[in-house]
Symmetry: C2
Subunit: 498 residues, 2 copies
């Protein structure tokens, strides 16, 4: 490849023969779901011209790419800790190093180097990362339709943002559906765009498909002030903020309702790999499961049950590698990925080359898929231990007469319900008042917790319930116990309990 | 600072006393220029809550930040080449290393480490980079008003994109002005947003202020199909594609016209530091200039003459460090930077932590401002040499009877005009036909050049002139000569010259 910039790649180049088989159906088209802006995006003229560079010997005076001769980085490297208890312990037992030089390709050592990674590249991401993600998708999700594709993002924040720009248009009176309690940043993205958010009532298993079906069947655009929703945004695993995880049956029922009402699904699944088994002690110290056992224990994703190409799945390295990489990926039908890339070309030009270089060296060259899954098992054991510390503190310190909670099977969050009607003189106060009272009492005692009302899809509706979201991801076990005890003390004081 | 995430910082924390002096005027407000979407953006609720974490001893169970204990990077490092001919040659003569560990802050060694850089951070960027950019702005631009501010971007692509979202709204019938030949990606960003682009006629000095004044004075919204433009987008240095650089007098005249018509200026200046002196041989082998001499030789930026806070300046590391960092910065009034950050919070969450860590270590700890400016002088000498190779090849190989060109004093581009009316039977062909004929003839001979028409602000207007953009940035001297000779051969053949 003589192109001076990173070569364009898509998943089709890397799929197993069986997974692009013509036996599989093609994805449906989503033209009617796209915004005018999205439909109007054309490929950048200079990127189109760069296709001529595939011809051997072509000299380009066209693209204003800086010469790698002037990159002030001869090489970059990173020290990687061992994966505790990894199955192949000889490979992973010691700290090790990954490195990438400026001219590794020219010296015949590599397919990727800094002269490519640190120059202008494809907004879709480097060919090397797209290959890895394509293999990963085939291992984990095994899509049922033929023409799926994938590209990198600058993180799930950008994934959600770009999905909204693609699908929702205030001039069309568009709305989207989310869980009734929803990731705050997703709500904050839609609001200034003029997109109405419709919250779907949840139970312990996530959004309730019958509620969604009824809402859509009886939608009255005039009364609701918005067109019938045509997009569902959902966080199916360890949902933020409720910690709920959708069962396979729940996903199938939601998918079916979406088929019935022609709903496009945005599956935002950053916690997918933070599965937290209920019996952590036996798991934590054992060696890692074989790759196939680990994979078969994972719940099916929306992507994996999607026969229509109706799902855009948004994946992230943030929770399982580092948030600061600002790098994730999306998987959907070719049509949708192509539109997504067109947007990324003018919005970001794709993720950092430093991130792409170091994450590629880590997950592909150093770990491979087995090592990555071993790392995930390590994380799962660690986060399971943290969850159990928090749940034990709840048992020990919270007044059960007024407090109930879930036991999350994935993710980073516990969701606590307060029976606020049991507060003395409750009738004098709104639920919002009592939520603020508890929040402020904790704050005064040195503990910051997240109010349930911060996550409401429709904050203008009356608030009936008081919830708090507590994370076990960030604090030490000791601090978690101190904070939960303080929370309990604040509640006892407000509710006048012994 | 006990916050588990990067602390918020703005330029005011780092300004010299004199530059925030109350003697200086405050920026004007730009509320009427902002879009509804931009005005509607509110701070993210969890970022607001994080302010409580400033209180010492506060324990947070609020934010779902992964623990740095689970970051699979113990340290990162990079090898940095020497800066040839740097003034302080003892410091820069040899290859050296920069490195950042996971827990450098805790061990008392540093103000910035991977536990911060690789976790969720501020969309504005790390405090360390904001300090460096604030100092850099005071050294180079010395803004004339008091309440200027700065924040990082994920590159100029994102800077332009976000500026457009802030300022231009198709529902308001908005339009923006650009140079008549304009950076293609900026045009491609505005088009699907439904923003009309109005091209301002240029001369060798850039856009002509009298033409702009007349256009605005006589604007007829009904006839033009757009509201009178309220934004000027300009690339003042080594303009892409024409290579023109605005003189100080030209900038003042443009600024004055913008004041008259209440135009907000977006100054996109990625080539600012690629000044190319006309007498390169004497410069190339000499040692570096003292910092003050170097700085006083730089032309004034729009930012530096801006008394109203009317300018958003977009800067980039892409042309002077590496494009793959996907990191740059914007400088404007506090009001505009605050709105810019609100957008970045839901669009990107700011640049990669790997990029921030490595660039910070390079430009602050390793080089400092003196070293950075030494590096820029090295680049200038190198690119000047490249430009001169290209100009010499033009002299040698191009038929001057039909070809003329500029000698760019900055940037990466030469701009070549073809007297297409001298083609045999010229009247049978449109300018566009002849442009395509020359482009295709070069391509057939193995040379890719960029058509002038790719960069037209208003491609629907009739095309009168045939231009080509040639870059001297990317190819070797040998390849440049081969390519220019081929270009000359193609022209001679088409124009039937000996």
């Amino acid at each position: 490849m003589v192109a001076p910039t990173g070569a364009y790649a898509d998943s089709d180049m890397f799929k197993l023969q069986c997974s692009r088989s013509s036996d599989r159906p093609a994805a449906k088209r989503w033209d009617n779901h796209l915004t005018d802006e999205c439909r109007a995006r054309a490929p950048g003229i200079l990127k189109v011209a760069a296709r001529f560079l595939k011809r051997p010997g072509m000299i380009s005076l066209a693209g204003g790419l800086p010469s790698p001769d002037y990159f002030p980085f001869s090489s970059i490297s990173a020290t990687i800790p061992a994966i505790p208890g990894a199955a192949e312990s000889d490979v992973f037992e010691a700290e090790s190093t990954i490195a990438m030089g400026l001219r590794d390709i020219a010296s015949g050592d590599a397919a990727f180097d800094l002269s490519v990674a640190l120059n202008y590249g494809q907004a879709a991401g480097s060919a090397q990362m797209i290959r890895w993600i394509t293999e990963h998708t085939e291992l984990v999700h095994k899509p049922l339709y033929a023409d799926w594709d994938t590209c990198l993002t600058t993180g799930n924040t950008a994934g959600i943002y770009q999905a909204l720009r693609m699908l929702c248009d205030k001039n069309r009176g568009d709305s989207w559906m989310t869980e009734e309690y929803c990731y705050a940043s997703a709500l904050e993205t839609a609001l200034p765009m003029g997109i109405k958010t419709v919250g779907i009532k949840m139970d312990a298993d996530g959004p309730i498909p019958e509620v969604m079906d009824e809402l859509l069947t009886n939608w009255d655009a005039a009364k609701k002030g918005a067109r019938k929703p045509h997009v569902l945004y959902t966080v199916p695993t360890g949902q933020n903020p409720t910690g709920s995880t959708q069962s396979a049956a729940r996903k199938r029922a939601i998918y079916k309702a979406c088929q019935k009402h022609d709903i496009y699904i945005v599956e935002d699944d950053p916690y997918y790999f933070l599965q937290l088994p209920s019996n952590s002690n036996s798991h934590q110290n054992s060696s890692k499961l074989p790759i196939n056992t680990f994979l078969s224990n994972l719940p099916p994703s929306f992507l994996s049950i999607d026969t229509d190409g109706r799902v855009m799945r948004i994946d992230s390295f943030s929770k399982v590698i580092v948030p600061g990489a600002r790098m994730g990926w999306v998987t959907a039908s070719e049509q949708m990925i192509e539109r997504f890339i067109r947007h990324a070309e003018t919005a970001s030009q794709g993720p950092s080359g430093f991130s792409q270089a170091l994450i590629y060296k880590l997950v592909d060259e150093k770990w491979g898929h087995q090592g990555f899954l071993d790392w995930l098992q390590h994380l799962q054991a660690e986060y399971t231990g943290r969850r159990d510390v928090m749940l034990a503190a709840f048992e020990k310190f919270l007044p059960k007469s007024i407090v109930s909670w879930n036991s999350p099977s994935a993710g980073m969050f516990c969701w606590i319900k307060i029976k606020h009607s049991l507060r003395p003189n409750a009738k004098l106060y709104s639920a919002l008042d009592i939520e603020e009272e508890i929040f402020a009492a904790c704050l005064k005692r040195g503990v910051l917790i997240a109010k349930g009302s911060w996550f409401r899809a429709e904050p203008d509706l009356p608030l009936d319930d008081v919830f708090f979201r507590l994370t076990f991801a960030a604090s030490s076990a000791e601090n978690m116990e101190v904070a939960v005890r303080t929370f309990g003390t604040a509640l006892r004081s407000i509710f006048n309990l012994a």
